[in-house]
């Protein structure tokens, strides 16, 4: 690791980190701040798991914004492979190079050409290699890692534990600086033990009422505190029901925004029921929640 490269400033303490995150508009809880802090200190990736819409991806983005690092993102999907995640040889360019050789007749043995076409200029760096090779500070986000097959997961292991990528024709590319790595998962399948062992684990659940209210107040301009309070309490009630898809934080925000636009200053059961379709996306869920919103049972 060369020391003259621009480096990411180390975080001072979990609290300082939390405040810095707050300054870029991300309201984290103490656990999140502690884990991100540790990740930087231990130089380990963070595996963020939790229901959709709790701010997992946003966490990586906000950390990047906060530290001024570049965000390199690898969006996972079923069928993702080496050539899309690590690197690929630029086949066309290699072919051109060989053809140019024939046309121009430059003196050169095959070995030289071979060495030439399997070198950096012919390498197409995909997100993982790009994050490793970067000279500037980088936050690597591997989004929805639970979507790739178990076999593909293995691709990540070398990058995550040793921060290096082996390219058979060139040798091993080592990281010039250790990127801060975030992996997110919606837990649609169990990730492999090997992957989990290499990461710090952060479970991100729906926020507490207090924090969610802060989020709503921060993200919805012009909302009254009283309305924000009611919105959040209602969402908390709805989440306690057994639903197909509990409302995410972003849906809370959407709902609050809609209420503000509609010029509503206070919620009651009727208004809540009429606007539930912004919060919930399944018909059955809406019916279920509507039934519950008027009933007081402990």
């Amino acid at each position: 690791m060369a020391s003259d490269l621009p480096r990411m400033k180390p975080f001072e303490s979990p609290q300082a980190l939390n405040e810095a995150l707050r300054s870029v508009g991300y309201l984290a809880d103490d656990g999140t701040a502690a884990v991100v802090f540790l990740a930087q200190r231990l130089q380990k990736p963070v595996l963020v798991e939790g229901p959709a819409g709790t701010g997992k991806t946003q966490l990586a983005k906000s950390v990047a914004e906060m530290t001024g690092a570049r965000l390199v993102r690898l969006q996972c999907y079923e069928g993702l492979d080496e050539s899309k995640s690590l690197y690929e040889w630029n086949y066309k360019k290699q072919l051109l190079r060989i053809q140019a050789e024939q046309v121009v007749r430059v003196d050169g043995s095959w070995e030289e050409i071979e060495e030439d076409i399997f070198s950096e200029p012919f390498l197409l760096a995909r997100p993982l290699l790009e994050a490793i090779r970067a000279a500037d500070p980088v936050v690597l986000l591997v989004d929805e890692v639970d979507r790739v097959e178990v076999e593909t997961e293995a691709l990540l292991l070398e990058v995550l534990s040793d921060y290096q990528v082996s390219v058979p024709e060139m040798g091993t590319v080592k990281a010039r600086q250790i990127p801060l790595v975030f992996l997110t998962s919606n837990n649609t399948r169990e990730l492999s033990e090997a992957l989990k062992r290499r990461c710090l684990f952060l479970h991100m659940d729906y926020p507490s009422a207090q924090r969610e209210r802060d989020i709503v107040l921060a993200k919805v301009p012009g909302i009254q505190t009283a309305l924000a309070d009611q919105v959040v309490r209602t969402v908390q009630l709805v989440r306690s029901l057994e639903l197909k898809k509990p409302p995410s934080v972003s849906e809370t925000i959407d709902w609050a925004r809609a209420l503000v636009v509609l010029g509503i200053s206070g919620l009651d059961a009727e208004i809540a029921k009429e606007t539930l379709n912004i919060l919930l996306k399944h018909t059955l869920d809406i019916e279920r929640a509507a039934k519950e919103l008027g009933a007081a049972t402990i």
Binding site: S13, P14, D30, G31, A34, V35, F37, L38, R41, L42, K44, V46, L47, E49, Y91, K92, L95, N187, T188, R189, E190, E193, K196, R197, C199, L200, F201, L202, H203, Q230, R233, T234, Q236, L237, S240, L241, E242, L243, K244, L267, D268, A269, A272, L284, D285, E287, R288, E292, L293, G294, A295, A296, T297, I298
Partner: protein
Amino acid sequence: MSNLSAPGASALGDGLFAVFSEFFSELRAAGVPVSTTEVLDATEALRHLPVTERETLKLGLGSALVKNEAHWRAYEALFDLYFSLRVATYGAASSGEGAGLPDAHWLGPQDASVPGTRDLSELAYQALLDGSTEAMALLARAAVARLAGIEPGRAVGPGYYAYRTLRRLDLDGLAERLAAVAGQAGGLEGALLANEYRRRLEQLRTAVDAEVRRHLVSERGARQLARTLRRPLPEDVDFMHLSREELAALQRAVQPLARKLAAHLARRRRRKQGRLDFRATARRSLATGGAPVEPVFRARRRSKPELWVLADISGSVAAFARFTLQLVYALSSQFSHTRAWAFIDGVDEVTELLRSAADMAEAVRQVNATAGVVWREGHSDYGHVLGDFVRGWGNELTPRTTVVVLGDARNNYHAVERWAMAEIARRARQVFWLNPEPRAYWDTGDSVLAHYGAFCAGVYECRNLRQLRRFVEQLA
């Protein structure tokens, strides 16, 4: 382990390190899979975390040790035993805004000026109304000191003392009064209040639990208490003995499994890529002067497998049946080609019931109320059920169909009707049998599993989540 973690140990000091070392091994003893790497990470983490801030320490250390959300409770309970509860914070920070609570001087049981049981109950009511966390913690402390009647040396679990405390506080009565308050508010506000009171009651219960543990830790030591409190991890709890809370946790765990099962069934052994599409490759090669630079492959065709689940919901497997239906429910929401049948001595399709039910409880009620699962007497009769099934739906089975039967194969000495199972196996792609009974009980008494098992691609014991997971993984 101690020599392995030597670098961290020097930073910690011997005494503290011994405590952590014991903590790690207790964590393993509780079943949480903690590898050596993770112990090293945790030790390293200790050097960076502020050891004086318990919550940060708990969360930070946990991120290195616990990689599965389902294990968090076990970890948290142990952590509290070892590190949080030992700290004597009595009297400190209690004179703040304790929601009308007097100073901590009345916390001792002998003081004559302490409020009586009734007053304490009244204070609890106030704290629950206000929802002040500090007040609730203080109250729990007072309540345990005054009401639990902890007898040193008596070998009872913490649950007993917690129960005694809450009963003397008249928690049920308090819940009723709170419900009345919420009812009076009515409408949306009433519903919101009810939800919050429910949560606060839970909070008070937890606080009392923690307080009892705090007392017992100082008396018995963390290690001893950890053994008393050890509970199986969620994935090891027998389906037959699930608490309501565990059932809820199970539900979350079943969802990804159902998805995985569906994905496994959908996958067929095949080339990773489709065949080479020669025509398309030739056409594309024109752009590069006739050199086939980018070969084109045919897209893979997705197979559409079907999953049929037959679930025994009779009394002998009642607890299992709830889980079974849950699995089926999860499957049918993940996987559109799932059909489900429930049976006791009659069999009826419940696919639509499950699909249209708003939640699990509703689904179970619907199945019990409307599905024709009882034919004669309401005791399992596998022979009749399978026969009926073949007659009713057998001709819809195709080579794409995988059939999973969930049940104990206890036939109450009715006719076995092997032919029916043979017929199902012949028509379907494969049949799996999941049995909630321990393997040792199979084919004893009226269990006729061997007769049916002969036609199955696999017969599995499925008594807990771990075994279910293994089954799903084996299918891969």
